[in-house]
Amino acid sequence: MEAFAWLGRRVLDWVEVLGRGTVFLARVLAGLPGAAARVRDLVRQIGRVGAESMVLILVSGLFVGMVLGLQGYNMLVRFGAEESLGLAVALALVRELGPVVSALLYAGRAGSALAAEIGLMKTTEQLAAMGMMAVDPLHRVVAPRFLAGIIAVPLLAAMFSAVGVLGGQFVGVGLLGVDDGAFWSQMQAGVDLRDDIANGIVKSVVFGVVVTWISLFQGHDAVPTSEGVSRATTRSVVWSSLAVFGLDFVLTSLMFND
C-alpha cells in the first residue's frame, strides 16, 4: 500500500510539474515577439548559448565523423562496398548523430548554464525585483534566451554534421584510400535534400525548443537556495537528455519509416 501511495504521489507531482511547465512555456511564447524586437539582447544571448558552444561542437563533430569513417570503413570493406562510405557517414550524421549529439552537448554546455543563471536570478530576487518593476521576467529575461536557443541549436547541429562529413572524408579518403569521387558521388546520390537533410534540421529545431524550455523552466522552478539551484542544474541536463532520446525515437519513426 505504501508503495502505491508513494507512486501515486510521484505521478501527481510529475503531472503538476508538467502543467507548470506548460503554463511557463505559454507565457514565454507570448514574450517571443518582444524578444525578437530586442536585437541587441538577442545577439548577446545567441553569443552565450551558441557562439560559446561552437568550438565544442566543431571539435566533437570532427571526432565523431572520423570515428564513423573508421568504423564504417571496417564494416563496409567486408562487403566490398567501401565506396559507400560517404553515404553511410553522411546519413548517420545528418539523420541522427548531428541533431542528437549536438543537442546533448548543448544541454550540457548551455542548458545547464541557463538553468543555473535563471535559478540564481530567482534566488537573488532579481526576477521578483523585475516583476515588481512591472516588467514580466518571463518576457524580458526568459524569452530572449529561449529564442536564442531555438536559433542556435539547428546551426550547431548543421556545423556538427558538416564537420563530421569532413572528418569522415579525412579518414576514409585521406587515410584509408577510398576514392574521393566515389565518396562524394555516392553521398550525393543517396542523401535526399528533403527526406534526410530537411528532416534532420526539423529534428534539431525540436531538440532546441525542448532542451531550452526544460533548462529555463528548471531554473525558474528552482527552490531558491544554493542546493535548489544545483539540483535544478542537474535536473535540466537529465531531463533534457531523456527528452532528446525519447523525442528522437518518436521523430525518427514518424520521418523515416517508409
Binding site: R40, V43, R44, I46, G47, G50, A51, E52, M54, F79, G80, A81, E83, S84, A90, V94, A152, P154, L155, L156, A158, M159, S161, A162, V163, V165, W184, M187, Q188, A189, G190, V191, D192, L193, D196, I197, I201
Partner: protein, 157 residues
C-alpha cells in the same frame, strides 16, 4: 562598448559558420543543384521483375546520373512491374529504341536503372514507354540456375 562589439563579432562568425554548414549540407551532401532547372520528363518501363529497386533510385546512362525512379506500379493483367522514370530535361536526346536494365551497384549495393542508348533518330518524350527492358538479376535465381546447369551437365555425361 568594446565588450558588446566582441560579442557581436563572435555571434556574426557563429551565424556565418552555421549557415555555411547548412549550405554545405544542402549542396555538397544533399546535391541541391543551383543550376538552371531544365525541367524533366517522365517515361515508363515495364520489367518482369524489379528485384530490390526502390523509389528515388538513380537512373543513369553510360554511368552518368540522368534522373531517378519516381514511381513503382504493377500491371494486374500482364503481371509486370511498371517503373516510372523521371529524366532530367538536360538529357532530352535519349533514342526511342533505348533499353533499360536494372543493375546493382557493387555486389550487394543499391539497385539502379541503367539506360543503354539505341540508334533511333527519334528521341524519347514524356509519356513514352521504353520497350526493351532487362529485369533485375536476382542473385538466388542465378545461383539456382548455375547449380541446375551443373547438375544437368553431370547427367549428360
Amino acid at each position: 562598448m568594446t565588450r558588446d562589439r566582441k560579442i557581436e563579432a563572435a555571434v556574426g562568425l557563429f551565424v556565418v559558420i552555421g549557415l555555411a554548414a547548412l549550405l554545405m549540407l544542402a549542396v555538397r551532401v544533399g546535391n541541391l543543384t543551383l543550376q538552371t532547372d531544365y525541367g524533366s520528363y517522365r517515361v515508363t518501363a515495364r520489367f518482369e521483375n524489379i528485384g530490390g529497386l526502390k523509389v528515388r533510385a538513380p537512373v543513369s546512362m553510360s554511368g552518368i546520373r540522368i534522373g531517378q525512379v519516381v514511381g513503382l506500379g504493377f500491371d494486374p493483367e500482364t503481371y509486370e512491374a511498371i517503373a516510372t522514370l523521371e529524366i532530367d530535361g538536360r538529357f532530352a536526346r535519349v533514342p526511342a529504341d533505348s533499353s533499360a536494365s536494372i543493375f546493382t551497384a557493387g555486389l550487394l549495393g543499391e539497385q539502379y536503372v541503367s539506360i543503354s542508348p539505341g540508334v533511333d533518330e527519334e528521341f524519347l518524350a514524356a509519356g513514352d514507354e521504353i520497350g526493351l527492358t532487362q529485369s533485375a538479376m536476382i542473385l538466388e535465381r542465378l545461383i539456382g540456375r548455375f547449380l541446375f546447369d551443373k547438375a544437368s551437365a553431370g547427367d549428360g555425361d
